[in-house]
């Protein structure tokens, strides 16, 4: 149990990213600190990317674990709660669970328990990675606990306790939070619950372990740590918040509020709301960019460091051959080629909207021999036909580029 004043890693204790909700702890003695994370999805496959990018993104899911554990050490938390979907599938390949176990084992923690909860992606079954007979369990240090019982209870010191309940299948209609034990009269301890599932406003929550946002109050919890959705989300009431920390590394385009863990400060004074601080641990940023003119594309190339960016770049512009050529070269610069790495970490280009403006193509080819001019004219005629339009535009560009290159 922490018994210190907010200092290192506490709100007000230094610069950090993310926000803080709850009581102002600047003058409040802290009774307990925990780090709450979820949805690591180790072993997730990014099949829409190239092989090298798939590897980078998949490995990033394991690499972020180190930053999570570092955050726990820096904030000197008393426990690390991992609220499910830590693996993407119930039986991940050996490298994933072995890698996780190695990262945990490298920490010389004895008074900081880490609790791993099976979620709907990695439910507790007879053959799953969390089952006591799985070799993963044998690799874990003794201070790492797996929630493999429905009545899981772990004291976090003399004045705090954790209750948790695992997912035992990939879907379910029961509210695991409401099955946690209720606070008994006279129990003044800090009570934390941990389950995995969907709160009622989520789509398809009915079959995905629905969680009532009133569960924390109903069961007399001071904090309900949950996992499933990949976005950060906090639910009232103030006295007993229910929190999704979200995925520590984003899993796909379109997700928001990802890349964080929650560091939760429980004040000594009973009745005060715990303070929840959002701390960013992600290295990768996922962005969808739409570029509609060449200056914007140039700016995108020059203005930012995209080394750790996964970018979906949508090109929507119709440009004459010279600009088209430059756009192509910038795209190569951003993406990289066999010889050189690109300026963007992982780039996916939607170039359907990149069109060659052929209105003045005759003028463009005036400087070339007549046979080339004639070829350009014929291609332009083909562009007018829907079945050959796209190929003809592209062929025109190649003709332009080759003519330029050859003549140069």
């Amino acid at each position: 149990m922490a018994d210190d004043e907010p200092g290192d890693g506490a709100p007000g204790g230094g610069a950090y990213e993310g926000g803080t909700t709850g009581s102002d702890l600047s003058e409040e003695p802290v009774a307990l600190k925990v780090l709450h994370t979820a949805d690591w999805h180790l072993g997730m496959r990014f099949v829409s990317f190239g092989v090298a990018d798939q590897q980078r993104l998949a490995r990033a899911r394991l690499e972020v674990i180190d930053r999570i554990l570092n955050a726990a050490e820096h904030a000197a938390v008393d426990a690390v709660l991992c609220a499910g979907d830590l693996f993407d599938v119930p039986r991940p390949e050996q490298g994933w669970w072995e890698g996780l176990a190695q990262k945990l084992a490298r920490r010389a923690w004895t008074n900081r328990p880490v609790v791993l909860l099976p979620g709907n992606h990695d439910p507790l079954t007879e053959k799953s990675v969390f089952h006591p007979s799985h070799p993963f369990r044998a690799l874990l240090p003794e201070w790492v606990h797996v929630v493999d019982r429905d009545d899981f209870e772990l004291p976090l010191g003399p004045d705090a306790v954790l209750y948790a309940r695992p997912c035992r299948r990939q879907s379910g209609q029961g509210d695991n939070a409401l099955l946690l034990p209720a606070r008994e009269a006279g129990d003044e301890r800090i009570r934390i619950g941990m389950v995995h599932g969907s709160t009622f406003e989520m789509p398809s929550f009915q079959t995905n372990f629905p969680i009532s946002t009133e569960a924390a109050v109903a069961r007399g919890l001071d904090y309900l740590a949950i996992g499933d959705t990949h976005a950060w989300k906090e639910y009232p009431p103030a006295s007993a918040p229910t929190v999704y920390p979200g995925a520590p590394e984003q899993t796909t385009f379109g997700e928001s509020e990802t890349g964080n863990v929650a560091i939760v400060y429980f004040p000594k004074r009973r009745g005060r709301r715990p303070t929840v601080r959002r701390e960013r641990v992600a290295q990768w940023t996922w962005r969808v960019e739409t570029v509609r003119d060449l200056p914007s594309l140039r700016e995108l190339r020059d203005a930012h460091d995209h080394t750790w960016t996964v970018m979906r770049l949508k090109i929507e512009m119709r440009v004459p051959p010279a600009e088209y050529d430059e756009a192509e070269r910038i795209l190569v610069e951003l993406k990289g080629d066999l010889a050189r790495p690109g300026r963007v970490g992982v780039l996916e280009v939607e170039r359907d909207g990149l069109e060659l403006d052929t209105r003045d193509i005759e003028q463009v080819f005036e400087e070339f021999p007549k046979v080339m001019q004639a070829t350009a004219r014929k291609l332009k005629e083909l562009e007018a036909r829907p079945e050959t339009a796209e190929a003809a535009r592209r062929a025109l560009f190649h003709l332009y580029r080759l003519s330029r290159g050859a003549s140069a």
Binding site: S171, G172, Q173, T252, V371
Partner: protein, 1015 residues
């Protein structure tokens, strides 16, 4: 390439033949059916056909089964001389060799077998794919250049219609392109086309299909699409299963809800019927309840009215009673005051007596204390005297102790320290005893006779004792255990008795005796153990005496030391005595009366215990006196309080009387009271009647009220009994008053109870019940038992159906739990996104390469329409020659990009070449072949190519060929040598060949060199 020599054996109709060829025009002539075309065919076979090809059956000699062989020597593009030899046959019969020579004389083999053909095709560049390559032509391969340079005799249409695009290899096109320099006019076009073609070749086969090889750009993306599609299909199957389970769950859930609705409907009907019956019963009950409530209301209203009357009378009675009691109390207050004064006086006397007793007790105690002081002083004096005497004894003890210590020191100086200690002595005694036993075991008796033969000194010891020997004669010596005889210095004879073992034991013990005992005895100067023991005992006695003297000295010294410590005690005693003397001095003289004096007598004789007893006795006496005094004082305080209360009470009574303000009635308060009690009795009589009536009503509805009424009745009886007694015993009014008061209290309680009867509530209750009764619907169904039982059965059936439906729902839930639910939908979403992306990539790749292909096609089409192609380059010189041949009868020849001669302009219009006469076509074909050979610098073989040509045009061709001989090699196979040679150019008779024009014209008579087979 230039041919140098052709050798043929057993090939077709030719059994043997060998022709050397010159660098220019070679006219090989002979009659028909000699084998000229066979010779040309052999040349094609050597250069183009694999030795094991299926077409070699055509090569076999007509009348023999010898293996056809051909050997061709030629000058290659590298200017070196090559020789290809082929023996056409399957298996071991066939063979191919390619040799090279730098001097044209000596050859070395460079390739064998199929590699010969690979090398040749590469060297020739005729547009024929190497045999080892997939897709290479089988049999006799054809290509544009093979047809043009080495075509068969009658293949005019082939020459004119052979398309370059039909080549299996690009080498022919490349060579022609280089040679004709068709693109030289536009290098940019050429480069663009080449690059675009390169891109197309990456992706498409020669027939325009997508390549599927590893290097194909489609392969990776296609495989990726396929992989993702398979992944998606796998997930889609799971999603299907999941959705099926979800739908099943939905259906089962709906069924469950439907059955639940049916169950609820049945329950509702059952409840409706039950309720209908209950309502009917309830209406009756409520109606009865309403009647009872109305009666209760009436009862309450009447009870309240009577209670008010009773209250008013009771109030008046109470005031009368209180006034009378106050009168009595005022009178009693005066009496009590007088009594208080008397009691106070008595208490004063008791207090004085107690004070005197305390004084006496104090005085006696003081005297007792003086006596105690005297006793203590006397005892201290005695103790001091005793201590003084003890001091004198201590001094004497010290002197005696000094004497004892001196005696001990003297004795200690006499102690013999050389003696062994007791333990050593005991050990030696033990050793002696063991030695004695061992020696005794040796005892057997020894007897020796010594006869002295000459004078020699003899000595002997028997059992350790010296034996006296006579100086001469015979001596007998006896011993028990050992006998030692020493014969001068010559010998010592030792004789021992006993067995060997016993002797060894004895000797060992003797050795120990000598080592352990004898040194001790020697140090002590003792003769033996007995003497040593006596001396040790004596030393022990002396030591005990020393010890005794020292102990006595220590005892005396200790006692003296104790006495010395008592000197402090003596000083303390002296101080104590002085202090006691002072206290005694201060205590005298004490005053006292005679009784005290008498009581003091004998104090001096009291000991300490008696003094303590007396002291305790005095203390107790004083305590008793003090307690008595305190008791008196407490009584006085109580008396004072009582007096104050009395005074206050008197004042209060007077005030109360004044408050009551009632004038004293005639006959006093007693009469007033009696009058009022009569009125009260009357009121109670009426009250009793009303209460009885109310009790009857209440008993029906409210047990609690009934109970209260019973108690009221009981109280009323008590009041009646009391009043009867009051009438009978007027003296006991005071006693009765208490009962009356109690009963009045109860009446008050009952009155309060009656007041609590919440008249408004009762009225509201009546109204409410009326409303309920009004609101109760009339039963809408006649719910007899049969209908009710049927409804109940329907409920049970509904419950069973609902249970079954619920089980189905659970099963469906279980199925859904095992197939994924939301998880599988997430996987599907990811897979769909991935598929969308890879399909986009695939589309982009397809569009990209489609664009390249479109570009190439468009370039070629433009090339064709714009005339900048190979055909145009070739057509021009051919047209020019043809115009010369025909005297400008014909215009340009159209040769398409694939080098097909398509149209010939004549009469101002293009005409299809196929429509020309055979002679014209063969002339056109010859010119085209000649032009190609000229551009390529290659040998040209013409086999009777102008059979349909008139002499004038033949002559024209002769000149053209002769002119060509200056630049390249031509081999003409003809049966009409005169068309090419002048008379003088033919070989002389008997000669096979003739060479003219510096070797550029060579005429060969094939009849002299070809040996036909089968003739």
């Amino acid at each position: 390439m230039k041919l140098r020599r052709v050798e043929v054996g057993h090939f077709g109709c030719v059994r043997a033949g060998a022709v050397d060829l010159g660098p220019g025009l070679n006219v090989l002539y002979g009659p028909n059916d000699l084998g000229k075309s066979t010779l040309a065919r052999a040349l094609r076979a050597a250069l183009l056909v694999q030795h094991s090809s299926t077409v070699i059956q055509d090569f076999v000699e007509w009348d023999s089964d010898e293996t056809p062989t051909v050997r061709v020597t030629f000058e290659g593009p590298d200017q070196r001389v090559w020789r290809v030899e082929k023996r056409f046959g399957a298996g071991a019969r066939g063979a191919s060799l390619l040799s090279v020579s730098n001097d044209g004389l000596t050859f070395s083999v460079t390739q064998r077998g199929r590699e010969v053909d690979d090398e040749l095709r590469t060297m020739l560049r005729w547009g024929i794919l190497a045999p080892a390559t997939k897709g290479a032509p089988k049999g006799l391969p054809t290509s544009f250049l093979a047809t043009v340079l080495l075509g068969e005799q009658t293949d005019v249409a082939g020459v004119l219609g052979q398309a370059l695009s039909a080549d299996t290899d690009e080498s022919g096109r490349a060579w022609l392109t280089e040679a004709l320099a068709a693109y030289a006019q536009d290098p940019l076009f050429k480069r663009v086309l080449a690059e675009a073609q390169g891109k197309v070749d990456e992706a498409y086969t020669g027939t325009g299909k997508k390549k599927k090889t590893k290097t194909s750009p489609f392969r990776e993306v296609t495989e990726e699409v396929k992989r993702v599609q398979e992944h998606l299909a796998h997930i889609a199957a799971q999603v299907h299963t999941s959705e099926t389970a979800a739908r099943e769950l939905e259906v089962r859930g709906a069924e469950r809800e439907r059955r639940q609705a049916a169950l609820e409907e049945a329950r509702e009907r059952f409840e409706l019927l039950t309720e209908a019956r209950a309502r009917r019963e309830a209406r009756a009950a409520v109606a009865g309840e309403l009647e009872a409530a109305r009666a209760s209301l009436r009862d309450k209203e009447r009870a309240l009215e009577l209670a008010a009357q009773v209250t008013e009378v009771q109030g008046r009675l109470e005031r009368a009673r209180r006034a009378r009691a106050l009168d009595l109390q005022v009178a009693a207050t005066g009496e009590a005051h007088a009594e208080l004064v008397a009691r106070r006086a008595a208490l004063g006397a008791r207090e004085a007596a107690a004070a005197a007793a305390i004084e006496v007790a104090d005085r006696r105690r003081a005297r007792l204390e003086v006596a105690a002081l005297q006793v203590r002083r006397d005892r201290a004096v005695e103790a001091l005297a005793e201590l003084d005497g003890a001091q004198a004894e201590a001094d004497a003890d010290r002197e005696r102790a000094a004497a004892h210590r001196a005696e001990a020191a003297a004795l200690e100086g006499e102690l013999d320290e050389t003696l062994p200690d007791e333990a050593t002595l005991v050990a030696l005694r033990g050793l002696r005893h063991e030695l004695d036993v061992a020696e005794a075991a040796l005892g057997g008796g020894l007897a020796v006779r010594i006869e002295r033969l000459r004078a020699v000194a003899l000595a002997a010891t028997a059992d350790g004792h010296e034996v006296a020997l006579a100086d001469d004669g015979t001596v007998d010596v006896e011993a028990e255990r050992a006998l030692v005889i020493r014969v001068g210095d010559a010998a010592t004879l030792t004789v021992r008795a006993g067995e060997r073992e016993a002797r060894a034991v004895a000797e060992r013990l003797q050795a120990r005796w000598r080592a352990e005992a004898e040194p001790v005895l020697s140090r002590a100067g003792a003769a033996g153990l007995e003497a040593l023991s006596a001396r040790v005992a004596e030393r022990g006695a002396r030591r005990r005496a020393i010890e005794e003297a020292r102990r006595a000295a220590a005892g005396l010294e200790e006692r003296a030391a104790l006495q010395a410590r008592s000197s402090a005690r003596r000083d303390a005693l002296r101080g104590e005595i002085a202090a006691l003397e002072r206290e005694l001095e201060a205590a005298h003289p004490l005053k006292g009366d005679a009784a005290d004096a008498a009581a003091e007598r004998g104090l001096a004789e009291l000991d300490g215990e008696a003094i303590e007893a007396r002291r305790a006795e005095h203390a107790r006496a004083r305590e008793v006196a003090t307690a008595a005094r305190e008791e008196v004082r407490e009584a006085q305080r109580r008396l004072d309080a009582e007096a104050a209360v009395l005074e206050e009470r008197g004042g209060a009574l007077r005030a109360s009387l004044a408050e009551l303000g009632a004038p004293r009635r005639e006959g006093g308060w007693e009469a007033e009271e009696r009058r009022l009690e009569v009125a009260l009795a009357e009121a109670r009589g009426e009250h009793e009647r009303v209460v009885a009536e109310r009790a009857r009503l209440r008993a029906e509805k409210d047990a609690a009220v009934g109970d209260a009424e019973a108690k009221l009745a009981e109280a009323r009886a008590a009041v009646e009994a009391l009043e009867a007694e009051r009438v009978a015993i007027t003296e006991a009014v005071e006693a009765c008053r208490a009962d009356v008061d109690r009963l009045a209290g109860e009446v008050t309680a009952r009155r309060e109870s009656v007041a609590a009867l919440d008249l408004q509530g009762a009225r509201a209750q009546v109204t409410q019940i009326e409303a309920r009764l009004e609101a109760l619907p009339a039963p809408d169904a006649e719910a007899d038992d049969e209908v009710l039982a049927a409804a109940e059965h329907a409920v049970e059936h509904g419950e069973q159906q609902h249970r079954l439906a619920l089980e189905e729902v659970r099963r469906a839930e279980g199925a859904l739990h095992t197939v994924g639910g939301q998880v599988i939908h997430e996987h599907e979403a990811r897979a769909k996104e991935a598929l969308e992306l890879v399909e986009r990539k695939e589309r982009e790749v397809e569009v990209e390469y489609e664009a390249w292909r479109l570009l190439v096609e468009t370039l070629r089409e433009t090339e064709k329409t714009e005339g900048a192609h190979l055909g145009a380059a070739l057509g021009a010189p051919v047209s020019e020659r043809f115009r010369a041949l025909t005297g400008d009868r014909y215009g340009d020849l159209d040769v398409d990009p694939e080098l097909r001669a398509t149209r010939l302009h004549a009469g101002g219009a293009p005409r299809d070449v196929g429509l020309l006469s055979l002679g014209t076509r063969e002339q056109l074909a010859t010119l085209l072949r000649l032009t190609v050979a000229e551009h390529l610098g290659s040998a040209l073989v013409l086999d009777d190519h102008l059979t349909q040509t008139d002499p004038a045009r033949s002559a024209w061709f002769r000149e053209v060929l002769r002119a060509h001989a200056q630049k390249g090699q031509i081999v003409v196979l003809t049966c009409r040598p005169r068309d090419y040679l002048a008379e003088g150019e033919l070989p002389p008779a008997g000669e096979s060949h003739a060479t003219r024009a510096a070797g550029l014209l060579r005429a060969v008579d094939l009849t002299t060199i070809i040996e036909r087979g089968g003739s």
